[in-house]
């Protein structure tokens, strides 16, 4: 019963919070660019307007995959908040990404096709880091359960600082920020239009937007996980990460997918490996 209440609370509160963050993102980005920017509630206005529009789609499957994307992201967020198995959360997130990608593939549009191919490569870039994060948590705490982290006296950040840096790289990809806003982004691109979401409009685009809000909360939750005792330190950590992402977005140009793969695989994965190696060696009493 308690779990059900938590789940319901998460499902209702997360998009409000996510939309709010998205609004802050737009204001801060505008300020960094010397503009005034829209009101903080602008993302909500946008989504409500989209929801009221006439439903237009290219085909049925496109809509079904968008729904799959939404529900699976919600599922992984709920699993996370219930303290579930981190590896499973990562796998369900991957399934959600698969849904999103197939939504892009399901229309014969050059823009959404290339967007999907790039989203696939993005997945290839971030998936190993997320799984390695889960393995790091296991090596440190002896369990894959997020809930178990609440019982730890020393925060994860102390033992896994390098993994957090790797997670920051992943955050850029997942939040679709420069330099990794390859598959789609908050702005239209010349060669890609709106990439993977080009053929979504009206209420279906709103579904995708709301899913991104949920996803943002989940990602910030992963950062919070690094400092859970007391939890406000973790929240500050997540806020700081969010702000850093915005700065990176505004000082970087967009790069190519092969650069992204090389960068995430060389620095992200290596950072994780060094960190895991240190934990492992420490566990074996070598260091």
């Amino acid at each position: 019963m308690k779990q059900l209440i938590i789940a319901l609370f998460v499902i209702l509160a997360a998009p409000v919070l996510g939309g709010f963050f998205s609004g802050i993102d737009r204001v801060l980005t505008a300020r960094m660019q010397g503009r005034v920017g829209p009101p903080v509630l602008q993302p909500f206005y946008d989504v409500f307007k989209l929801l009221g529009k006439e439903p237009i789609a290219v085909n049925q499957r496109q809509v079904a995959w968008a729904l799959g994307y939404l529900t699976l992201i919600i599922a992984s967020l709920v699993l996370f908040c219930l303290g579930g198995d981190l590896l499973i959360i990562v796998f369900v997130m991957a399934f959600a990404a698969v849904s999103f990608i197939l939504g892009g593939f399901s229309v014969k549009s050059p823009y959404s096709h290339i967007g999907s191919q790039r989203e696939l490569l993005q997945m290839l870039a971030y998936e190993p880091v997320l799984i390695l994060l889960a393995i790091g948590v296991y090596l440190q705490t002896g369990s894959f359960m997020v809930g178990n982290l609440l019982n730890q006296s020393t925060p994860l950040l102390v033992s896994m600082p390098l993994v957090l840096i790797a997670l920051m790289i992943i955050l850029t990809i997942k939040m679709r920020k420069s330099p990794f806003d390859l598959s789609t982004s908050h702005h239209g691109h010349q060669e890609l239009v709106k990439g993977i979401t080009t053929e979504y409009s009206g209420p279906y685009l709103a579904i995708i937007e709301i899913t991104h809000w949920y996803e943002l909360i989940l990602l910030l939750g992963l950062v919070t996980m690094f400092w859970l005792q007391p939890v406000w330190v973790g929240i500050i950590l997540a806020m700081a990460a969010f702000f850093i992402e915005l700065v990176i977005d505004n000082i970087c140009a967009r790069l190519t997918w092969d650069w992204m793969l090389k960068f995430t695989w060389s620095s992200g994965i290596i950072l994780c490996l060094i960190n895991l190696g240190l934990i492992f060696a420490h566990g074996k009493g070598v260091i």
């Binding site: 729904l67 699976l72 229309v107 799984i131 894959f144």
Partner: protein, 648 residues
């Protein structure tokens, strides 16, 4: 136990009898009846075995001659035939390996007296054998039923003067009998015989079409598996010479696990058997025989990849796992398996031929299973068994689907499957079940992979290879799904007339894949856990209220996820109202031309241009030919180390 005795006898002899009937009654209807009846009886036998549980069986001799003598004679007969093939094809390796095996066997049988050693009981059926029996006799039988119809269609496409269908069914069905022999044998010498029979069957089946390529690839399969056979024979010699008669009994070997009696030289014997398993499971550097095997008609690929042949390899490695637990050999097995999993997953990305993608994926998953055997904790062994079961069902289904689609659209290239969801919706649904059950939650393969990664967490290097590989695996499956689900404007739905054979085999495997995923909890509790607990302190996996628990450190919620998927499908159905929703053509950055049912557009030069899309294959980055020698030399080094660590 009396019933067990009959069940076991039927599962080995019935395929032999049925195969002979197929050969003698040269008639399509007769083959149908034989295949259906054999399938039903074999499946019933395996289910009955599950019901009565583990038992031993010691067969009496035949007409006063002991079985050991008969098997020795059959062994030499088989080797003589292989030698004949080697000479006829002027294939040096086959010839040399056949002679080597013959010398080893002569030494084993006559100098060491191995031919007269009586191992009691000759057959031991335990929970692991029963799981394998269920896979072989249910999945294998479905493939044989599919095969009857497929090979008839196949000959319609490629007419022959004299039908080769009877001989095809002969080898296909007898394969099941040989596999049953392998999994039930307690006597390693007997197992060796059945092992050689499967090698020979696969040679005959791969070369079925008698084209130059088919014969070449069949010969490659034969020499690679003969190398494994020679390793197996060497292992027999070592076990008998440096151990005692008892060491030819798997039960005795397992009882010696972890004791100092397993000396270095005996461990080398075990290592050689693991090596034999790796050749049979097409691990690097022996992947080329399984890749080449796809020249054969599709039911052969389905059989080799899912329920037989390659599964014999992982079965042996898994069977012996308790014996080498805690040794360096075990760590090396884990590393070699992980390496294969990683490399072949990456190579699969660069392939557009559906059968080749499936083949690489099989090799990769077998690598994962072998890595689990090498990790050798209860959780890892449970993961390996889960993977074996689900891989057999899903991979069988995928191959059969590929064959069916190939006969319908005339291609097995993934690029040609564009818009298959519109053209052949029913087949695509079945295909999708197969693909999704290979890599997405909450299906069994992913549960296995999850348990494998959780088990590997203590071995960072293996875990790392698994992590990268599992991310890469998703890439080629999604690309494939993406092609099939691409909406092609104006696509015309084809008729999908399915012969009853196809309905039974495709439908059976698809329903099986879903049901097994849905009921994995009782599967784990009642079938997988007992098989592991027999040789390990606990089973690693347990189930509790809709979820699976891994070794106390992880939790996989199965049923809530299934419920979620069903909810999505229902909601999608409710939301989608074609009459209320306006459908529009896609944005082309230029005027669409050709109307609603086309994706032509007007370019800047004022001409109409047809849009064509295809997947990324990264030809510049991943070059199979260039990679092969590097990968193979690395793999050979690993195998040398693997065998080396046993005697160091």
């Amino acid at each position: 136990m009396i019933t067990g005795k009959y069940l076991l006898t039927i599962s080995i002899w019935l395929p032999v009898l049925a195969a002979l009937l197929c050969l003698l009654l040269r008639n399509y209807n007769a083959r149908n009846i034989v295949a259906f009846l054999t399938g039903i009886i074999l499946a019933a036998c395996s289910i009955a075995m599950l019901y009565i549980g583990p038992f031993d069986y010691q067969p009496e001799g035949l007409l006063g001659i002991s079985w050991d003598t008969i098997i020795t004679a059959a062994d030499f007969g088989l080797l003589a035939f292989v030698l004949y093939i080697g000479l006829k094809q002027r294939h040096l390796l086959i010839t040399v390996l056949a002679i080597t095996q013959a010398i080893l066997l002569v030494y084993f049988d006559f100098t060491l007296g191995g031919g007269h050693v009586e191992i009691k009981p000759a057959f031991v059926v335990d929970n692991l054998s029963i799981i394998m029996a269920l896979i072989i006799n249910i999945v294998g039988s479905l493939i044989c039923i599919y095969g009857v119809k497929y090979i008839a269609d196949h000959e319609e496409h490629h007419p022959l003067a004299k039908s080769r269908q009877p001989r095809f069914m002969f080898w296909l069905i007898i394969f099941l009998g040989a596999m049953n022999g392998i999994i039930f044998s307690n006597n390693l010498y007997w197992m060796f015989f059945f092992w050689e029979v499967t090698t020979f069957c696969s040679f005959q089946l791969i070369g079925h079409d008698l084209t130059d390529e088919a014969i070449k690839n069949a010969c490659r399969a034969l020499w690679m598996n003969s190398l494994g056979g020679a390793a197996f024979a060497t292992a027999l010699v070592l076990l008998l010479k440096y151990g005692s008669d008892n060491y030819l009994s798997i039960r005795f070997l397992l009882s010696q696990a972890g004791k100092p009696q397993i000396t270095d030289i005996l461990l080398l014997g075990i290592g050689l058997m693991v090596f034999a398993g790796m050749t049979k499971s097409a691990q690097l550097p022996f992947q080329s025989w399984l890749l080449g095997a796809m020249v054969a008609p599709t039911p052969v690929s389905a059989l080799l990849h899912s329920s037989t042949m390659v599964k014999a390899g992982v079965y042996l490695i898994l069977r012996l796992a308790p014996v080498y637990a805690g040794t360096y050999l075990s760590d090396m097995v884990a590393a070699a398996g992980g390496f294969t999993f990683l490399v072949t997953s990456i190579l699969a990305i660069s392939q557009s031929n559906a059968k080749r993608v499936l083949a690489y994926s099989t090799i990769a998953n077998l690598g994962l299973i072998i890595a689990c055997a090498g990790i050798n904790t209860p959780l890892a062994i449970s993961a390996a068994i889960v993977l074996i079961i689900f891989h057999a069902v899903s991979k069988g289904l995928l191959f059969l689907c590929t064959g069916f689609v190939e006969h319908n659209i005339g291609s097995r290239d993934i690029e040609d499957m564009e818009g298959l969801a519109d053209r052949m919706p029913i087949t695509t649904t079945i295909y999708t079940i197969g693909i999704i059950s290979m890599f997405l939650p909450p299906f069994g393969m992913l549960i296995g992979k999850w348990a494998a990664i959780e088990a590997a967490a203590q071995l960072p290097l293996v875990a790392f290879m698994m992590v990268i590989a599992s991310a890469v695996t998703a890439l080629f499956w999604i690309k494939w799904l993406g092609r099939m689900f691409q909406g092609v404007p104006g696509a015309v739905r084809k008729d999908e007339p399915m012969a009853v054979h196809y309905k039974i085999s495709l439908g059976g495997l698809a329903v099986g894949a879903v049901l097994l995923g849905l009921f994995i909890l009782p599967l784990v509790t009642n079938i997988i856990s007992p098989a592991v607990q027999k040789y390990y302190a606990n089973s690693g996996l347990a189930s509790a209220s809709g979820a699976i628990i891994a070794g106390g450190s992880g939790l996989f919620v199965v049923w809530p996820l299934f419920a979620l998927i069903i909810v999505v499908m229902v909601v999608a159905g409710l939301i989608y109202k074609p009459d209320k929703m306006r459908q529009m053509p896609v944005y082309m950055c230029g005027e669409n031309s050709g109307g609603f049912n086309s994706t032509n557009y007007i370019t800047t030069s004022d001409t109409s241009y047809a849009l064509s899309l295809s997947n990324y294959y990264f030809a510049g980055l991943i070059n199979e030919v260039k990679w092969n020698w590097v990968v193979n030399s690395l793999a050979i080094m690993m195998i040398i180390v693997l065998l080396g660590v046993t005697i160091l």
